[in-house]
């Protein structure tokens, strides 16, 4: 049984039928990536998993428990953290406060402090800026903060929505190295990316979504080699 099982998921925004029967599995310990063009429904899939939008039908099961109808803040307590699209750092709070908010659900103070050290080792730039208002960080730094903050929830499953968006190539490399690192240390990851090349390089499994439907899924390296994906998402051929 996969850690996360999504079956025939439909989501509507009013008249917009954004997800039209999505099914996907995320196996424990893996990085799974969901790629697709703008408006395909990637973020909507994550929003449904996190409980921010209510599916009109279908099921989402995490570690054997149904998530439909569970409130967003309770889903975090069950072990799913999300670094949302557009980062969503709390600009009115300091970097340190943002990290603390990430650990809001936790009561093991010692564990939180040691995890904070760990993420600050991953992102040394944040350490220098702990007392700074996070609204004053650069875009790349805010992205690092959003990932670090999600890690502080110590999730079983980490949802990342376009962590490389708008970042310089070097920083993208760093972020992906960290994503692999986090995964090696035992966190399962569902990764959304427009940078299909990087995403398929890092992931174990890949899903391709087009206008609300999964059109392809396979091992990531198989997808990376397939003609369809190369043409449509890797800009080759």
């Amino acid at each position: 049984m996969a850690l996360l099982e999504v079956r025939d998921l439909h989501v509507h925004y009013g008249a917009v039928h954004a997800l039209q029967g999505i099914s996907l599995d995320v196996e424990e310990g893996q990085i799974v990536t969901l790629i697709g063009s703008n408006g395909a429904g990637k973020s909507t899939t994550l929003r449904a998993i996190s409980g921010l939008v209510r599916p009109s039908s279908g099921s989402i099961k995490f570690a054997g428990r149904h998530l439909e109808g569970v409130k967003a803040h309770e889903i975090v307590r069950m072990g799913i953290a999300q670094s949302p699209e557009g980062r969503g750092v709390f600009a009115n709070l300091t970097v340190d406060d943002n990290l603390e908010i990430g650990a809001y659900t936790r009561t093991d103070r010692a564990g939180v402090l040691s995890d904070k050290e760990r993420v600050l080792d991953l992102f040394p730039r944040l350490r220098e800026r702990l007392r700074q208002l996070s609204g004053t960080l650069s875009g790349g730094e805010q992205q690092m903060l959003a990932i670090a903050r999600a890690l502080l929830a110590r999730p079983k499953l980490l949802l990342l929505d376009e962590p490389s968006l708008g970042l310089a190539p070097q920083i993208v490399q760093t972020i992906f190295a960290i994503i692999r690192d986090i995964n090696k240390q035992g966190t399962t990851i569902l990764l959304i990316e427009q940078n299909a090349h990087m995403a398929l390089g890092a992931a174990h499994m890949g899903y391709v979504i087009e206008v609300g439907q999964i059109v392809l899924h396979d091992e990531a390296r198989v997808l990376a080699a397939s003609d369809e994906v190369r043409k449509a998402y890797l800009g080759v051929g």
Binding site: K71, H73, A81, I101
Partner: protein
Amino acid sequence: MTKLLQASMDGVAVGSLYALIALGYTMVYGILKFINFAHSDVFMLGAWFSFAICGFLGYTTADHPVYAALVALIGSMAMCGALGFTIERLAYRPLRGAPRINVLITAIGVSLLLENVGQLNSNKFLAEYGIKFPFGTRPTSVPLLLPDQPLLSFALDSAHPNTLVNVLPVDVLVIGVAFTLMALLQYLVFGTSLGRAMRAVSYDAKTASLMGIDVDRVVSITFVIGSALAAAAGFLYGQKLQSLRQSADGLWVLLGLKAFVAAVVGGVGNVRGAMAGGLMIGLVEQFGAAYLSTNLRDLYVFSLLIVVLLFKPEGLLGKAVVEKV
């Protein structure tokens, strides 16, 4: 000199009442982005609840235990806290996500309801069920729960030995309670995990829920705290004036409006701004009354509002909204 000192003291006392009320407006606005029009009525009921508690426990000006003021204060804070919780739960929560104008109209409705419920006295229908409302339709005098002898009384100007500055126990009570509550709130908002969650929700409620914060709970707590602070202001106001206008009297709305002005002057949504704005409004009003004319005290307050809105529309401590990148 005497006038200056007296006006400063009155200004700080009145201003800290405005500040307590302004905090409720600003906290609710910070989190839900709407003006809770019923807030001035919660303040009014806070004053009346403390009066009702005195009646219930038999406290009178001449005869009351030493801790009476504390009982009346905490009692009315608890009652208004419960009221604020209920109002949010029944009237505002069902409208979460509805257009803001709907919430605004509902707030006005709640406001009218509270004013008129406060007026009921001997409604025949309700009386049959043994329900009597204590407030009635006429002003009432409030028992003073403190000694009325000045703590300090001194002449500053040797040329006018009969012009005395009086420091009354009630002034010490007003300023002491208001500043203690503001210090506690300051600690709660800026020094605790709950306060951090409140600031996060006020910036972006959806993302806050992704952090595991129960947004509905934070909203409830905000209403409870804001209403309890308004109740404290109501109690202190009753002690200071020793009389209360009836619940639908326009004076309550005017006081609420001035507190709202304080919130806007300080930067609506900003907790420290509300405190600073309240004090400023109080001082402007009392200095104007002392040095210019007592009749125009409302004018000073609203002129200050206009000046602030012209030159710093986001309020003195408010930040121009930072766009999220």
